[in-house]
């Protein structure tokens, strides 16, 4: 930008310099016309100045023309308008100039020619002829006089020459008279001015005398007057030498006649000089005029460029600004050149761009706010444990949060725009969900609420769903939003609480009467067994034995329920889990149940912080459960794996018990941790329920599943230490999500 401004200033300065130089040259020329003494000295300067000025102007114009041509070809905004304006200005300037030039040249030629009149010329010629005639008459008179004087002097003795010559001079009226002898030697002279020395004979006079011809001539004098000089050669007869002598006399021209002759001669000469310089004068004036015309033309064209540039510049700015606005740059502000219509247009343009910029800023701000709201909503939805699924009216997925995918067992976040039916193919949970949803939507129910039970490979999942319609047109809904929550864990907790209550009531209501029943049966046996006959005694013995036995069984059962319901305080200590596991496993190996128990543990694992009694019970329950499950199974094998693991930056202990038994029944995996659910004929159904309770008391996680190659697997994760336990407590909500993902 700065370079362009500098270049423009430079070109303007060059233009001004060019015009100044040429004007300066013209001024010098004009001064020289008035005072020509310095012309020789300054003519080179004038010439150089002219050439420099002309060349500068010419270069600028060529540069301007080239740029205009280039802009025109490149369709630069404003170039066509500029070309038209330049053409118009040049036309307006050139045509009058040429007309003025033509008529000026005509006027000069005719004006100068009018100075020279044929009659004047003839008059001058006649005057000159008359003057010559008058002079010729006088010359003839003086020639006659000198002839007579020569004849007289031809016989005058030398001794009287001076006297006779003076007398003859006075008689003839001559100013000066000189007699020359051989070799132009002055023999005698007489003059009316004393002290003047006679001049030697001029060459032409001598030549004419040698040819024996008289000489007569009108001699202009340096004083401005004239005289008639005559000379005559004669043979001197005053002695015997007969030498040739010449007498020369200067006759003055009458003053009045001399003035008239001078006037005629000067007028004639002046007129002749004018005639001689007439063509030169015309040429000179024509050249000067042409030069001025050329300067005017160059200046006019240069002025046309400057003017057109000034006029077009705001329009070019406007075009550039419009293009900038079209490209989205609303911050464009154009300088207001003046207060005319173009200035008003540019001012309006500036107002428009300012308003556009303000509107865009507000729109951007609104968009940013919407985006922020949307981001917040997305964050909320992402953090929400409730699944949210937004559908278009044609059941294409508009949006779904992470929880929705986790609950339904498929990633829905990247499936926006796809049909929910297509996405559901091959995904059992989602398939069931879509079936239920479609059932309602196809029936025209747009607002519905239902609890759905989905059955998957890892168990059943209970969802509460609520669907609502997104506002749209009057007739068509814009879409649907289905909000659903996995309440499986909630229901499980409710069940756990109910079973706990049942256990407490059993312990309280059933266990208390059992002891009197047992004591009463034993008392009856002791009191009446001896008194009865053998047959009745046998009956009583069997009956009381059965009562005591069943009461014992019931006591065991009630104790088990009591254990389940009981929640003593945790006794946290540091213990060696590896050692504990070996103890428990060795106990079961010692029972020789025919089941191979393989323990894989990490000896380097650090000590575990937890309730050692509860962990021992967990191991007992799991291994016993597995041993009982493997009864009747040939080559039964139990794998117990204990390892340290860092899961989500939390130090955990992972305990896994696998067997190659029949596994869990299909569909019952999710219920195996419920009390009184068992697949064994002898089980109380509290083993795994207690394990689950103990694990949860350690803020751990437990899961069960069937192995792909047969058998069951129960996996437990316990925090390694107190810090890990605290972290697990803090992450309880996320852990719930994680559980869903694992499910």
């Amino acid at each position: 930008m700065a370079v362009r401004t500098l270049k423009r200033i430079l070109i303007t300065l060059m233009g001004v310099a060019g015009v100044t130089l040429v004007l300066g040259a013209l001024f010098l020329l004009s001064k020289m016309v008035q005072k020509s003494d310095d012309f020789d000295r300054l003519q080179d300067v004038i010439l150089a100045t002219n050439i420099a000025g002309g060349v500068i102007l010419l270069l600028i114009l060529i540069g301007n023309l080239w740029r205009l041509f280039h802009d025109y070809r490149e369709s630069v905004p404003g170039a066509k308008l500029k070309a038209r304006m330049v053409g118009m200005f040049v036309g307006l300037a050139v045509l009058p100039l040429i007309v003025v030039f033509y008529f000026s040249v005509q006027f000069i030629n005719r004006g100068i020619d009018s100075w020279f009149n044929v009659q004047v010329e003839e008059g001058l010629d006649n005057a000159l002829t008359l003057s010559r005639a008058a002079i010729e008459f006088r010359k003839r008179l003086h020639l006659q006089a000198i002839t007579q004087i020569a004849q007289k002097l031809a016989v005058v003795p030398d001794s009287q020459l001076v006297f006779e010559l003076s007398m003859l001079r006075r008689e003839s009226g001559a100013n000066e008279m000189t007699l020359y002898g051989n070799n132009n030697r002055v023999l005698a002279t007489s003059s009316d001015s004393a002290g003047s020395f006679p001049k030697p004979l001029a060459e032409e006079v001598s030549l004419q005398m040698r040819q024996n011809r008289p000489f007569v001539s009108l001699e202009p004098l340096s004083t401005g007057s004239a005289e008639i000089r005559t000379a005559m050669a004669f043979i001197y007869r005053g002695n015997r030498l007969r030498e040739s002598r010449t007498v020369q006399a200067h006759f003055p021209v009458d003053e009045r006649l001399g003035n008239m002759i001078n006037s005629v001669e000067n007028s004639y000469s002046e007129y002749q000089r004018l005639v001689f310089f007439r063509e030169d004068l015309k040429d000179l004036l024509t050249i000067t005029l042409t030069f001025v015309l050329l300067l005017s033309l160059l200046t006019a064209i240069y002025g046309a460029f400057v003017l057109s540039r000034r006029l077009v510049a705001p329009i070019q700015d406007l075009v550039a600004g419009t293009r900038a606005v079209a490209m989205g740059n609303f911050d464009t502000r154009l300088p207001t050149p003046s207060r005319d219509e173009i200035g008003f247009l540019i001012s309006s343009f500036n107002d428009m761009t300012q308003r556009l910029a303000t509107a865009r800023r507000e729109a951007t701000l609104s968009q940013a706010l919407v985006e922020a709201e949307r981001t917040n909503l997305e964050v909320i939805l992402a953090r929400l444990s409730t699944g949210v699924l937004a559908l278009e009216s044609d059941l294409k997925i508009r949006n779904a949060n992470q929880a929705a995918g986790s609950i339904l067992g498929v990633n829905l976040e990247n499936s926006a725009g796809e049909s929910i039916r297509e996405v559901a193919k091959g995904v059992p949970l989602l398939e069931q969900f879509v079936d239920v949803a479609c059932m309602h939507l196809d029936a025209g129910e747009t607002e519905w609420r239902e609890q759905i039970v989905l059955r998957g490979e890892v168990g059943r999942r209970v969802l509460t769903c609520a669907c609502t319609t997104l506002p749209g047109d009057e007739d068509n809904a814009a879409g649907y939003v289905i909000v659903f929550d996995d309440i499986t864990a909630l229901l499980q907790a409710q069940r756990d609480a109910a079973w706990g209550e049942v256990a407490r009531r059993l312990a309280h209501e059933i266990k208390n009467p059992l002891t009197p029943i047992q004591l009463s049966a034993e008392r009856m046996r002791r009191k009446y067994l001896g008194t009865m006959d053998e047959e009745e005694a046998q009956i009583l013995d069997r009956a009381t034995h059965t009562i005591v036995q069943q009461v014992e069984a019931m006591k065991e059962m009630v104790n088990a329920f009591s254990d389940y319901a009981r929640a003593p305080d945790m006794d946290i200590s540091r213990f060696d889990l590896d050692k504990l596991a070996h103890e428990v496993v060795d106990l079961y190996r010692a029972q020789e149940s025919g089941v191979e128990i393989v323990l894989t543990s990490d000896p380097t694992m650090s000590l575990v912080e937890g309730d050692m009694g509860r962990v021992r019970q967990i191991l007992h329950n799991l291994i016993r459960n597995a041993v009982e499950a493997l009864e009747g199974t040939p080559h039964g094998r139990i794998d117990v794996q204990i390892a340290a693991a860092e899961i989500d930056e939390v130090e955990m202990v992972q305990l896994r018990v696998e067997d190659n038994g029949p596994g869990f029944k299909a569909g019952s995996v999710s219920q195996i941790f419920d009390p009184y659910v068992t697949t064994k004929p002898k089980g109380t159904g509290l083993g795994l329920a207690i394990v689950k309770k103990l694990v949860e008391e350690h803020v751990g996680t437990i899961s069960a599943q069937n192995r792909s190659d047969g058998g069951a697997m129960i996996s437990i994760r316990l925090p390694l230490n107190e810090a890990a336990r605290e972290m697990m407590i803090a992450r309880a909500p996320r852990r719930a999500d994680k559980r869903r993902e694992q499910a």
Binding site: F39, N109, E203, Y268, D283, I287, F291
Partner: protein, 200 residues
């Protein structure tokens, strides 16, 4: 009448051509118009003689006027013929210096009434008239015993050179005409410098 009009048109077109040529010359800064000159000035011989301690110049010049200068003379235009004499001191290590300069100007004029050519020495005011141009130019071209410089004014034991040239001086004409003469070679009559050592 038509012939007169034709002549006018011819003159006009000629004038335009001249103007165009002049503009081109102004614009392009070309060298001066090169026209074959009919006239020339030439110094044939020159020498000095010391007489009474004054170095006097004897020279012979050939002055031939160009046809345009001749026509101007016949039309009553006074021609000024200038002879420039310079006394140059020869210097060994520096540029030679012009210690003295003498310009002798003569006016040559034709008087239509007497039909004689007048030669006037502008320095002395002496005037001679001649019946022919030849005799007038011959007289002009013969310089005899023209005092140039007193030997007393020259540095002793120094070497001097003299040089002489003749030229047609146009200074007395109006500048506008001289500007025109500048482009016309026939008015550029000037001899080369004629140099010779000064004998002391």
């Amino acid at each position: 009448m038509s012939q007169s009009a034709n002549i006018q048109r011819t003159k006009l077109s000629r004038r335009f051509s001249i103007a165009l040529a002049a503009v081109l010359l102004f614009g392009t800064g070309l060298a001066q118009e090169k026209i074959e000159r009919e006239g020339y000035f030439e110094v044939r011989s020159a020498s000095t003689q010391a007489t009474g301690g004054v170095h006097a110049l004897d020279a012979r010049l050939q002055l031939v006027l160009s046809s345009e200068a001749l026509a101007a003379l016949e039309s009553g235009v006074t021609l000024t013929i200038e002879m420039q004499v310079q006394v140059i001191r020869v210097r060994r290590f520096l540029v030679d210096s012009v210690d003295a300069e003498l310009a002798v100007r003569h006016e040559l004029e034709y008087r239509p009434l007497s039909q004689r050519y007048i030669v006037k020495n502008l320095n002395s005011g002496d005037q001679d008239s001649f019946a022919t141009l030849y005799s007038a130019l011959n007289n002009l071209g013969r310089v005899q015993a023209l005092p140039v410089i007193d030997d007393e004014l020259l540095l002793p034991d120094r070497e001097y050179r003299l040089r002489l040239r003749a030229m047609l001086n146009t200074q007395q004409y109006p500048a506008a005409l001289r500007l025109l003469f500048f482009w016309r070679g026939q008015w550029q009559l000037q001899s080369e410098w004629f140099e010779w050592p000064l004998e002391r």
